[in-house]
């Protein structure tokens, strides 16, 4: 990858370039192996240029065709438009918006990829960088200023965790991480 093929013949970059390290040493570039796996899969397909699969120290087996982030380059709303059509026919993901009081932007998540509440809450914690408290049926979420709530099919705001998981994912329209007293208000009497 740090190929010097024909490089110094074509350009006198050395004269102009900014360099790292002491003069006379070549900078060494280490590439994280996990980034190469997709490239390796693709390289194996290339015809004329030959395969470049020898560069890595680790030769990982080609991974299954994973979806590459951001490729093909299509806007989310276009994907969602096609997605919605497919959801209706194939039962695809259940996408809901996640908002957090005080945060300037919304997120979207697919409820179908989680197997239960702990996974979902962990994911939301990671995504929005905060902690949800301990859940108890009686007292709601304790130990944190935030409580995860959701709007159900009837338009009511419920505390996440109060209904069985399967019922939750079919009735949840959107999620909202409430802050402060509003959150505590929902903790009891649900």
């Amino acid at each position: 990858m740090e190929g010097s093929v024909g490089y110094d013949n074509d350009l006198n970059l050395r004269a102009t370039e900014l360099r790292l390290g002491l003069p006379g040493t070549e900078p060494v570039s280490i590439v994280r192996s996990n980034k190469r796996s997709l490239q390796q899969v693709a390289d194996d397909d290339c015809g004329v240029n030959g395969c470049k699969s020898d560069d890595q120290n680790e030769t990982a087996p080609p991974p299954p065709k994973a979806q590459i982030v951001g490729w093909p380059p299509i806007r989310s709303y276009r994907k969602n438009n096609i997605q919605t059509k497919k959801n209706e026919s194939e039962g695809g993901g259940i996408y809901v918006k996640v908002s957090m009081d005080g945060a300037p932007y919304l997120r979207k998540i697919d409820l179908k990829i989680y197997s239960g509440y702990p996974e979902l809450l962990q994911a939301i914690e990671n995504m929005l960088k905060f902690t949800i408290g301990e859940y108890s049926e009686r007292e709601g979420y304790k130990g944190s200023d935030y409580a995860p709530t959701y709007e159900d099919k009837d338009g009511d705001w419920m505390l996440v965790g109060d209904v069985p998981w399967e019922m939750f994912i079919t009735s949840c329209k959107r999620l909202r991480i409430m802050k402060g007293s509003e959150a505590r208000g929902l903790g009891c009497g649900v």
Binding site: Y7, S29, C46, Y105
Partner: protein, 585 residues
């Protein structure tokens, strides 16, 4: 402020002359002639365009141009459209609004693209600018219908409200009812991005009724087909119309009502929307098709025969957006019917499917290039391409200004010869001398960049993915493309050498984005130190870049010229390489 010069024009005369100069480039040139022209020009500049909101601070803009009435700002890098920029990256407009609220009481127009706009910002706009006329939020996010309600309620002379492709939190459809009865000034309303099932349709009808100058209206998906006729009869003067969903059970009276409503719109030239199309209702459009110049069917999941029928009624079509259901056969029909075609965009219906689901290949694009001599702008998603086809397209369409080709599988070679597609794209840049924008795909070596550097003298924006062999590729582009303003690269083996050798070039560009390439952290630091007029920003969501060896590659890199210095609002995953900023988190 001015020197008295016997031979110079009075300020008033110069001001009057300058008022005819609208383009930013010309205005900038005027301001460089001499100090007094600089002074006069800056006091009478009314419109400011800021292509990167972090390139300059609000205070600096206000200081130089005290009498601005219209501002346009762009925030996130283009690759944010494809989820490559993490949430929370930035592009917040609030501080701009806050500063302008004090400095520009007469600000009338705000146009934003890829920025984060909160309800607080919208409320501030609503209460700060008494003469507010135009709000365009293109691909923005962060606000809800509450913010829109504030705009609707307060802006008495609102002319334009355009929310295209923005992400809006729909809390209630009743914001539309906030437009006061006295508001009759609307010329353009685009709410196509709203998902709400409860757009207050009666409020919308009344609004349309009382705005005789309404020229452009884009409804959202929730508005059903049966409602279209009501709207159109209230606004027969419309030039640009976006339907909601275009599906209903076929009923003769609904159909004839719709057809009649469309035919009463004698000015209608542009159509969009068309979610969930029932083909049987397309003939309702036939009466206006002969006048149509723009048709956006990119959400319409209708098959080629129906598309062919529709398109064959539109001989004046200049712009067509469509899904790949159109297939090669549909594009051949387009090529024979629509000789005025200037812009074509074909989107994939099944972007993640491995096997092609439709018969759309390079042949369709070749046919259009042959039949439509005025073709200027192309966006084309397909699954195979050949050098021969690209050469043919290049030769047929020397007037291309925008050419974006996306071959869905990365590194796909010429399907006939298995060669890289260097020669094909080379032909594009060689023949299309006015090419301003180019997106590459397929199997590409450093050679394609050599062609681009040699011939792409007018190229302003280049998008590259999964291409090239070495730094030589990047070097060709940076050293050869004289007009380059925006360069965005992902998953290419470009490292430190070319970037460091061409560091000065980066000051002549708006921005450079590189992700999943091979630029090392050490080189980023060096660049940041040596080039104070550049902001060099490293994005890494997993761990701080300085927790690894300096030779380790960075995940994402965004470099842009700026006179505002490093950002104040950096999120935790973003590190500035500016020497003045300590890397502390």
């Amino acid at each position: 402020m001015q020197k008295e010069m016997a031979y110079s024009f009075p300020d008033e005369v110069l001001k009057h002359v300058f008022s005819f100069i609208q383009s930013d480039k010309d205005r900038n040139a005027v301001s460089l002639v001499c100090k007094s022209w600089y002074e006069i020009e800056r006091w009478c500049r009314r419109k400011v365009f800021i292509g990167n909101c972090y390139a300059v601070s609000p205070r600096m803009v206000i200081r130089r141009f005290p009498e601005v009435r219209s501002i346009e700002l762009k925030g996130k890098p283009h690759f944010a459209d494809f989820n490559l920029v993490p949430d929370g990256w930035g592009g917040y407009v609030l501080q701009w609004i806050a500063e302008m609220a004090g400095a520009y009481p007469w600000l009338g127009e705000i146009r934003l693209k890829r920025m984060v706009v909160t309800d607080e910002s919208l409320e501030l706009i609503a209460k700060s600018f008494k003469n507010f006329k135009v709000l365009v939020l293109f691909s923005c996010e962060g606000f809800s219908t509450d913010g829109l309600a504030a705009i609707a309620a307060s802006c008495k002379n609102l002319r334009e409200l355009d929310l295209r492709e923005s992400e809006v939190d729909d809390l209630s459809g009743h914001w539309l009812a906030q437009f006061p009865e006295t508001c009759t000034s609307l010329v353009s309303l685009n709410i196509s991005c709203l998902g709400s099932d409860e757009v207050s349709f009666s409020a919308l009808e009344r609004l349309v009724d009382r705005c005789p100058n309404l020229r452009s209206l884009q409804l959202n998906r929730a508005v059903t087909l049966d409602k279209i006729a009501n709207i159109l009869r209230r606004a027969p003067q419309l030039v640009d119309f976006g339907t909601g969903n275009y599906a209903a059970e076929l009923q003769p009276d609904v159909f004839s009502n719709l057809a009649g409503a469309f035919s009463s719109c004698k000015e209608l030239k542009s159509l969009s929307g068309f979610w969930d199309v029932v083909p049987a209702y397309l003939p309702a459009l036939y009466s206006i098709c002969p006048r149509l110049t723009s048709l956006n069917l990119s959400y319409a999941t209708i098959q080629s025969p129906d598309l062919i029928k529709l398109v064959s009624h539109c001989p004046r079509l200049q712009r067509l957006l469509v899904l790949d259901y159109v297939e090669d056969s549909g594009l051949e029909e387009l090529a024979s019917s629509c000789k005025d075609l200037q812009e074509l965009r074909v989107f994939p219906s099944d972007p993640f499917g491995v096997e092609p689901n439709v018969s759309l290949t390079e042949q369709g694009l070749v046919a259009v290039s042959l039949g439509c001599p005025k073709l200027q702008s192309v966006l084309y998603f397909c699954r195979r391409m050949s050098n021969a086809a690209l050469v043919t397209i290049a030769q047929n369409c020397p007037n291309l200004t925008r050419f974006r080709l996306c071959i869905i599988e990365p590194k796909t070679p010429d399907y006939l010869t298995l060669d890289p597609l260097d020669a094909g794209f080379g032909a594009i840049v060689e023949h299309c001398k006015d090419l301003r924008r180019l997106s590459l795909s397929g199997l590409l070596t450093d050679h394609v960049f050599e062609y681009i550097g040699t011939y792409g003298k007018k190229l302003e924006m280049l998008s590259v993915a999964f291409a090239g062999d070495s730094d030589l590729g990047l070097h060709h582009v940076l050293s050869g493309c004289e007009s380059l303003r925006k360069l965005e690269i992902r998953d290419c083996p470009f490292g430190d050498k070319a970037l460091l050798a061409n560091a000065a070039k980066l000051e002549t560009m708006r921005s450079l984005w590189m992700s999943s390439c091979a630029m090392s952290f050490g080189a980023c630091k060096l660049l940041g130190q040596k080039m104070p007029k550049l902001n060099v920003e490293v994005i890494d969501e997993t761990e701080p870049p300085d927790s690894r060896p300096e030779s380790y590659p960075v995940d994402k890199l965004y470099i842009y010229r700026s006179v505002a210095g490093p950002r104040f609002d950096m999120p935790p995953f973003l590190w500035s390489m500016d020497e003045a900023v300590k890397i502390l988190h």
